[in-house]
Symmetry: C2
Subunit: 451 residues, 2 copies
């Protein structure tokens, strides 16, 4: 079956290479259908559109929609769900049509966002994942190991169904520990690994301890999702697995991914513009950003029937770049460096903008460092960045202090901030299998500290 | 959408109620296609059929097949897979067409059986599960909580896809503990729970400790699979959940279930005869058993294209009964009491036939007993059944000895065997989330004891 090996660049060739004029027309056609569907089926959306004076038949263009349609916040979703749990007034169809239930972890003390998918939604969600995985080089006949807990987190569920749709042999490893996963990865000659960036690094470390060289394995693509992922982390994963590490991101509120990094490695991710209308706005002025300007992304999903979102404040910080910056032929614009951080994690420290992902970017350049944590602390009336670093077991104690100093100097050089760097004993910092939590702001109000 | 509530008895009305003559014709037509497919695609099967003098075109009838076609053992599958792992010479199609990989646990020291499913196989596997779940009363619009680890075990994976196919809202709980699962079951008002019988009892116990009365929950069906399940266990589950507890069983070697208990509760399980040709034979003489005679089931799968099995020695002990013993209208014959035990677990103790499931049947009648273990031990040259029972924490110590005596008397009464019964301290016996292991034969050869 040599035809399985034939190269083919796109999962949906026509929609991925459509001229931008046509793309905009298609977005507007889909938007109108979505608005009408929401207005007819969802109490929440009907009341909201009526109150804002923008029922579906009054929306004249994409620009008109962006100007007049109200922004949706996470708090509003939570409030609408609380009216009649689990889904409240939001759904546009009877939730009994759902084939799946998912929710966010709600670990930070906040209420989880709950969601369902109809059979149609779920097929669409898998198609979005197939679009992204295919662009990363995943092909029919590949074998993929999926490493996550298979609980209510939606992300890797959609991925699994997407890989099946492509025609991959999927190996689910819900209840497995890292050693067992490394062994399966080798035994089953997997070409694809799917997990969070944090967990990919953990698997690499486990393999090292087992004396297994993953760079010699069959793995060709690591699909990393679930967390922002700085460049240095990507390179570290690529070195460990001898593979391309593709970035992607989705949201529970959208059921699936909205962007992916193609194998051309354009330095960012393509937005799936046929299925999402993405706006980038200045978080202060709420005015649209141009290419090259960092702002918060507002998401409008064009592909879902069960629970819909229009102009959803994602809290993700992004910078849009034109599609022409990538040579893959897709006409879909890019988010430079993927998700650069979270707007509510962004802090001005002594006049300098800071995001936690910046610290990770430095850490990953130090092979001697195993884990880290960072905090923003008020010390003698000054906001101070405190970073704890945990050396690998192999590092000798006499090298601890020089490591600490070199790391502090590098943070200062890259972030223009003088951190307080502390050493943590081997094995003492928390480890993460799913979404890592490595930043705490202790300068905020006491209520927030509890979260 | 009141139509969702309309009763309808069968998932596949025509095939479930087909006259038996037509059913036999259909089985033979399907068998011929399966044999030809295996002969054309599988080295293992081609060589085997040629060696036995029964290539596809020589098989003249179902009876002819049963008389001449060789029996397949687990050891032969393992040997065929070892030739070129993971699937060896068995597959009838290129394994690159697989969408899933699964394997047995291999925990007992034996090699695991590995298997894959093509997209077509997987759709068929889900349809078998849908057939069973629908017969138990699961309907579109129901919400189902699936409680297992989502590793390589195939069973509940097929169930999940089958429930989606029916149109249920599925809630996967791979990484959850029992408390979290109980909370979700209540919060999401689940009508359906799917897990092993052992785990259903564990959830019931957890709920009791949490002060939650599951009998007041929305649960109407507990789909219990993965283990033989004596009647007393069924009744205990039904009392705890205030629900119907439906039995079913499958095998990794068949990808999905081959029998299910319908809501009429016929005292056993219907065989999915359109998709399986099941023979029951005497394990000593290998001659076919009549209705009412206990024997070992030989399985021929009529629905799978990737890896096929013909006349597979399942090791399951069953007794076939005619379909007319059930009032549901299905024309599919029954296995009385489902799987009654495993042939290699069956022992003659002092002239009396014994199966471990018989002990479980007694245990479940004692609400004071939490867990148990049983062993066959040679004491003073006599084979003796030793049963350890662990009382619930609520049982007072002064009641321990009377409990021990009552239990011993009941075992003697039901099994005609005099056991040695020992009390185990609270919390000391092993607990099981998946397939329980509660029997050890210490009279066997040392090699076997290690397993």
């Amino acid at each position: 079956m040599a035809w399985l090996d034939l190269p083919r660049g796109y999962w949906n060739p026509v929609s991925e290479t459509m001229p931008r004029e046509r793309l905009r027309e298609r977005q507007f056609d889909k938007l109108k259908v979505q608005l009408e569907h929401a207005y007819a089926g969802s109490r929440f959306w009907r009341e909201r559109m009526d109150a804002a004076g923008c029922p579906p038949d009054t929306i004249r263009s994409l620009a008109d929609f962006s100007e007049r349609f109200p922004i949706l916040t996470r708090e509003e979703i939570i409030a609408a769900e609380a009216v009649d749990p689990p889904y409240g007034t939001l759904p546009s169809v009877d939730p009994r049509l759902a084939v799946r239930h998912h929710q966010t972890s709600g670990t930070s003390g906040a209420q989880p966002v709950r969601t369902f998918d109809t059979a149609r939604d779920w097929a669409w969600a898998a198609d979005m994942w197939a679009t992204g995985a295919y662009a990363m080089g995943v092909r029919p006949g590949d074998t993929a190991l999926v490493a996550f807990g298979y609980g209510l987190f939606i992300g890797f569920w959609g991925l699994q169904y997407g890989l099946e749709k492509i025609g991959c042999r999927v190996i689910p490893t819900g209840s497995f520990d890292s050693e067992k996963r490394v062994r399966l990865l080798i035994e089953q000659q997997c070409q694809v690994l799917a997990c969070t960036p944090t967990y990919a690094l953990r698997l690499a470390l486990t393999a090292e301890e087992m004396g297994v060289d993953l760079a010699q394995s069959a793995v060709k693509v690591v699909i990393a999702s679930g967390e922002p992922r700085p460049e240095a982390t990507k390179h570290k994963i690529e070195a460990a697995f001898g593979a391309f590490c593709g970035d992607t991101a989705g949201m529970t509120e959208a059921a699936t991914i909205f962007m992916f990094e193609c194998a051309e490695e354009p330095g960012g991710c393509h937005v799936i513009e046929t299925d999402y209308l993405e706006e980038v706005i200045d978080p202060e002025t709420l005015q649209p950003c141009d290419y090259g300007q960092r702002g918060v992304r507002l998401m409008t999903s064009l592909g879902r029937e069960g629970i819909q979102v229009f102009r959803y404040w994602s809290n993700d910080l992004v910078t849009k770049r034109p599609h022409s910056d990538c040579g893959c032929g897709r006409t879909w614009d890019l988010y430079e460096g993927g998700i650069q951080g979270r707007h509510d994690d962004m802090r001005k420290i002594r006049g300098v903008w800071f995001m936690p992902s910046m610290v990770e970017d430095v850490v990953r350049k130090f092979p001697e460092i195993d884990e880290f944590q960072c905090q923003l602390v008020n010390i003698e009336a000054l906001d101070t960045l405190v970073v704890q670093i945990e050396p690998k077991p192999a590092v000798r104690e006499k090298d601890y202090e020089p490591l600490r100093q070199r790391f502090a100097a590098e943070v200062k050089r890259q972030l223009s901030l003088t951190p307080r760097v502390e050493l943590a004993a081997v094995g003492t910092l928390p480890r993460f299998e799913m979404k890592a939590k490595r930043f705490q702001d202790l300068t905020a109000a006491p209520e927030a500290v509890k979260n």
